[in-house]
Amino acid sequence: MLLIRCPYCEEERPELEFRNAGEAHIARSANMSGESDDDFEKFFFIRSNPKGIIYERWRHMHGCARFFNAVRDTVTDKFVMTYKAGEPKPAKLPGVAK
């Protein structure tokens, strides 16, 4: 069971309180109905599924109930950092090469 730092509760909490919500930073188009079939496929179906650093969304479902973002290594399952929803993708990651 993972231990996840909730950026709103400002502490680490057990995974049982959280629900993963898929890849992060996939913006929904402001002009949804104008999207092409390809755009929609990219938006809704295509995922980067990286072996290594992933940017993902979690919800502190049974805690503060907020959605937030996390950076995690999918090989070790170690969290690099978490940050609030709406905050930009971090340019630099603490303690991660390249």
Partner: protein, 997 residues
């Protein structure tokens, strides 16, 4: 007397406290504190089991958790039979009853042993190469036989009366292993005041101090020191000491699973005691002090009862006061076995000879053995053991060949050296490193905040281990936030020390031989099998393991892995590290299902959700159905009624007078804020801005991919306040779906969502008389059609309690849904029921609700739709706001194949024979005469007998259904084809006049 092999004054058990027990029906006497193993050995019993494949007689190899052979069934009573219990771990209690396993008719005469005679046929992986002809024989003959022969013990056959519990715990320093090193680490950490948990799998702490009689710490005997230290730790309130507790799994971020055996060692565990307790510990730092496991020597017939690890024999003697024989031989490749010989000799047991593979080893233990007059043979090997049900001799030969000499013995103690227990370290995803000098894998690269100390770290010698452990414990405490330590490091005055040893097959069991020299005892894997696997192209150690099943038995290769690896490496001509080690998988030792499940059994398997009126329905004799976690009243049978009769009556009553229905389980969400309408516009297909406060609308929610996700009636209570209802099953996921969009896609909107599902009990009153029933109880709401038209909502009082009164209908009749605060639910229901009785109203359940809505063609999301249905497919285009530029699903539902012709559309079906009721899920075809596989064009989603229509009715998803109105289609059933006509979805009151009737 507690056994002929009990040595007076030896061991630590009090001879006074005897305990009776039985094995295979024969009763014996042991001593409290014994394990089943030590008690049996005290009585001279070595033969306790049969091996997996060859059914060879087996005794005790070890005195601990690594035991591969001595597995028995413990029987407390009819419902408490536990298979595959290690006799070396099971503590004795008065009245314990154990049976041997995997033998028939008896342990000493086992028919299955013919396998041993035929063993040349049963080589590694033989079953992959045969049993293929004739083909049919596999299922009818070969496989059943193989299965009967396989398996060890017998599964329990009754529900388990015992209970299990669980506990989450957090600490700064978790110490796993309670030998000298673990205790030293725990002391160092505990003295700083941080939270410490110390766990050990044994009943008593001390680890190898249990047999290392040479050890002295802080001026006292090692084992005594350990007990004193544990007492000290136990008295500190920042420390939790757990004995009989095995750390079985090391998971991500220092999360460790442990199982504490609470009741199995007790004669009569109290009712309140769990049998086992699961500990799930999150630790800031973990100290691994799991020790080392002795390896056996790999030589011919090394599995005969009476042949065991030297350390085990020492434990039986020094801790339990039991001699494993009267005339004992020793076969070793390192020093440690000498200590066993010395201890036994001093206890008056004859040591027939020590056979040492090494050429000219020197050292204090060797001198001492010699001084005691024990015969020592250097540079020699035991090439064969004699005896069958019990070892009777050992045949010795110079290791490079030469004359044989057979020495009669009744036990052989062996030691090929010690393997560090890196299991938990490896589970923590740490990488082991091979030490070429000592020929062992030790912790290399760490992946988590843990540290290994003592023997499991490859540290030799008590003194070095304690120093290392104490320092590590102190550092772990510092790293987890401790200020200062104020303790004193334990001082080791005397210790035994040994290392080295050998890996792989001993002389006499080499490649040129065909002898049965066992590597994995339980799975009957010999050195020969491993070589064969390599010859057959298995180059990866994982392939060798899987092909031979080496290390896959219940002991998970604790004694066999390294030998197997060495033999494979030798055969491959590769260095050991290049061949690699198989991965260590959790659990460290087998874990009881019940302990893992702990509380989640019976009523606590899953919450059972009941509504406020549940007791009333129960009293009325309602039959309930499971809907998600909810129990819902399904129908209310009267005396002598079956489900059909009850449902027919309920349905007719609703349309002639009125019915009461508990709709409380429907999800309810209060959407509040100035942007509430804007938000609703985005989450539902319908338009909401113009919906007047006090009015309701049926809403459809899509997923982004355009498929129907949920639906429900939504009432606008105020410009900034909506009362949203969802399906029963959909409530939680709809709430999550809405929160997701609100928080991440539309955070600019000023609106909040609150689940009020359980705040309000909902009583649906439906039927021509519904208003007459409700009106007398309502205050402050004008119930006239003008003031309260269909699809409107008012707030007021009923029976003096607040209500949100909806005028709405899921039956097609005039109808209301009365929302009242949940705690008033049943009382208000009873009041309405009393009123209802004046009009002949009935209570109806979910089945009638389904029939009534189907008569009107109202869909049930999840039954008539299934996650692949668009609003258009369901004939709900009217509910999609045509002028809207955006809502969730607007783009998805416009994809080519979602607007293509020929999609399955929801339609009505009427069977040509009105009496025939279709089966839900039945498939529909155009041409019933076509051959299988048939082209299916749709399926029946809902189907009922409608008493109100006087015929059966059905809804179905049919390809291009709306263009098939009036067409005849066919439903092929096993017992004949059913003819159906495609119709509209409304079967009753097409004009809808009854909504105000």
């Amino acid at each position: 007397m507690s056994g002929a092999f009990r040595i007076p004054r030896a061991g630590r058990l009090s001879q006074a406290k005897t305990a009776r027990f039985s094995f295979d029906g024969q009763s014996y006497t042991g001593i409290e504190g014994d394990t089943l193993a030590s008690a049996l050995l005290a009585n001279g019993v070595h033969l306790v089991g049969r091996s997996f494949k060859y059914h060879r007689p087996r005794g005790f190899l070890s005195a601990g958790a690594e035991e591969p052979n001595a597995l028995v069934q413990i029987v407390r009573d009819d419902a408490r039979k536990t298979p595959n219990v290690r006799a070396t771990v099971q503590e004795l209690y008065d009245g314990l009853a154990a049976n041997s396993q995997n033998r028939w008719p008896s342990l000493s005469f086992d028919v299955g042993a013919v396998n041993d005679l035929a063993s040349p046929m049963f080589s590694a992986g033989f079953y992959y190469k045969t049993f293929m002809w004739p083909k049919a024989a596999w299922k009818s003959l070969y496989e059943p036989k193989i299965r009967e022969a396989a398996g060890l013990g017998v599964s329990p056959d009754k529900p388990d009366p015992d209970h299990y519990s669980s506990r989450y715990a957090h600490c700064d320093v978790l110490v796993l292993g309670g030998g000298a090193a673990g205790i030293a680490a725990a002391l160092a950490a505990a003295e700083t005041g941080v939270r410490v948990i110390l766990a050990d799998e044994q009943a008593e702490f001390g680890g190898s101090l249990r047999f290392e009689t040479g050890a002295r710490i802080d001026g006292q005997d090692g084992f005594a020191w350990a007990q004193a230290a544990i007492a000290r730790l136990g008295a500190m309130d920042n420390v939790r000491v757990l004995s009989r507790t095995t750390a079985f799994g090391y998971y991500a971020q220092n999360f460790v699973g442990l199982v504490e055996r609470v009741g199995d060692h007790l004669k009569a565990p109290g009712h309140d005691l769990p049998r086992e307790r699961l500990w799930q510990v999150r630790a800031k730092r973990v100290v691994l002090a799991s020790g080392a496991i002795e390896r056996h020597m790999v030589f011919a017939n090394n599995d005969r009862p009476g042949i065991m690890l030297a350390g085990a024999a020492r434990t039986f003697l020094n801790h339990y006061g039991v001699a494993v024989g009267r005339n004992v031989g020793v076969y070793t490749a390192n020093d440690s076995a000498y200590a066993a010989a010395i201890d036994l000799k001093k206890a008056g047991v004859n040591i027939a000879a020590i056979v040492d593979l090494r050429d000219n080893p020197t050292g204090p233990v060797i001198d001492e053995a010699r001084a005691l007059g024990i015969e020592i043979n250097f540079g020699r090997a035991v090439i064969r053991a004699g005896g069958k049900l019990r070892v009777s001799s050992m045949t010795v030969q110079p290791k490079n060949g030469g004359g044989e000499r057979t020495i009669s013995v009744d036990a052989i103690l062996m030691s090929a050296g010690w393997t560090p227990s890196v299991h938990l370290f490896s589970q923590s995803r740490g990488k082991v490193a091979f030490n070429d000098e000592t020929k062992r894998f030790v912790p290399g690269t760490y992946a988590q905040d843990c540290v290994s100390v003592g023997a499991c770290n490859g540290t030799d010698g008590l003194s070095a281990s304690v120093d290392e452990a104490y320092a590590a414990g102190a550092k772990a405490a510092r790293d987890s936030g401790a200020k200062s330590a104020k303790g004193v490091k334990p001082k080791v005055d005397a210790s035994e020390s040994w290392s080295r040893g050998m890996l792989g097959a001993a002389p006499g069991a080499g490649p040129d031989t065909t002898v049965k020299a066992f590597v994995d005892f339980q799975n009957d894997v010999t050195a020969k099998d491993i070589r064969q696997a390599v010859h057959e192209g298995m180059r990866s150690i994982e392939h060798v393991k899987r092909f031979t099943t080496n290390g896959m038995a219940t002991d998970q290769g604790k004694t066999s892995n390294m030998h197997g690896l060495a033999i494979a490496a030798e055969t491959l001509g590769k260095p050991i590290p290049e061949v690699g080690l198989t991965t260590f998988r959790a659990p460290y030792t087998p874990v009881t299902f019940g302990a893992i499940v702990s509380h989640a059994r019976g009523p606590l398997f899953d919450p059972t959700r009941k509504t406020a009126t549940h007791p009333w329905a129960e009293a009325q004799g309602a039959v309930f159905e499971d809907v998600g976690q909810w129990k819902r009243a399904w129908y209310f049978p009267k005396a002598g009624e079956d489900m059909h009769a009850a449902v027919d009556r309920e349905c007719v009553a609703v349309r002639t007078t009125a019915g009461l229905f508990d709709a409380s389980t429907l999800g309810k969400i209060e959407v509040v804020g100035p942007d509430a309408a804007k938000f609703m516009e985005l989450l539902y297909t319908n338009p909401w801005e113009k919906l007047e406060p006090g009015r309701c609308r049926y809403g459809i929610m899509l997923r982004e991919d355009g498929f129907i996700y949920d639906d429900g009636v939504v009432g606008r209570l105020a410009p900034d306040r909506f009362h949203v209802t969802t399906t029963t099953g959909g409530a939680p996921r709809v709430m999550n779906h809405m929160e997701d969009y609100l928080q991440t896609e539309f955070p600019h909107l000023n609106v909040w969502l609150t689940s009020i599902t359980e705040q309000w009990a909902v009583i649906a009153v439906q039927g021509p008389k519904s208003r007459d029933i409700i009106a007398p109880l309502v205050e402050g709401i004008d119930m006239s059609d003008e003031a309260l038209p269909h699809m409107s909502v008012r707030e007021g009082k009923i029976c003096g309690v607040p209500t949100r009164l909806f005028r709405m209908s899921f039956t097609g009749e005039r109808g209301f849904e009365v929302n009242v605060p949940a705690d008033y639910g049943q009382a208000v229901w009873e009041a309405l029921w009393a009123e209802g009785q004046k009009h002949g109203a009935t209570a109806y359940g979910t089945e009638s609700m389904h029939v009534l809505r189907a008569e009107k063609g109202y869909i049930i999301v999840g039954q008539d739709t299934d996650g692949t249905v668009t609003p258009n497919d369901a004939g709900l285009d009217w509910a999609v706001g045509k002028k809207k530029s955006d809502f969730v699903g607007i783009r998805g539902m416009a994809r080519p194949d979602l607007v293509a012709k020929g999609r399955k559309q929801l339609v009505g079906l009427k069977t040509k024979d009105p009496k025939v009721v279709l089966e839900e899920g039945a498939q529909i075809v155009e041409d019933p005469k076509q051959a299988i596989p048939m082209k299916m064009i749709g399926h029946v989603t809902s189907s009922y007998w409608s008493q109100n229509c006087g015929r059966s009715i059905a809804l179905a998803l049919v390809a291009g259904g709306r263009d098939r109105m009036g067409d005849t289609l066919y439903v092929p059933m096993p017992n004949g084809v059913i003819e159906v006509e495609v119709t509209g979805m409304v079967f009753f009151d097409e004009t809808g006049g009854r909504l105000n009737g």
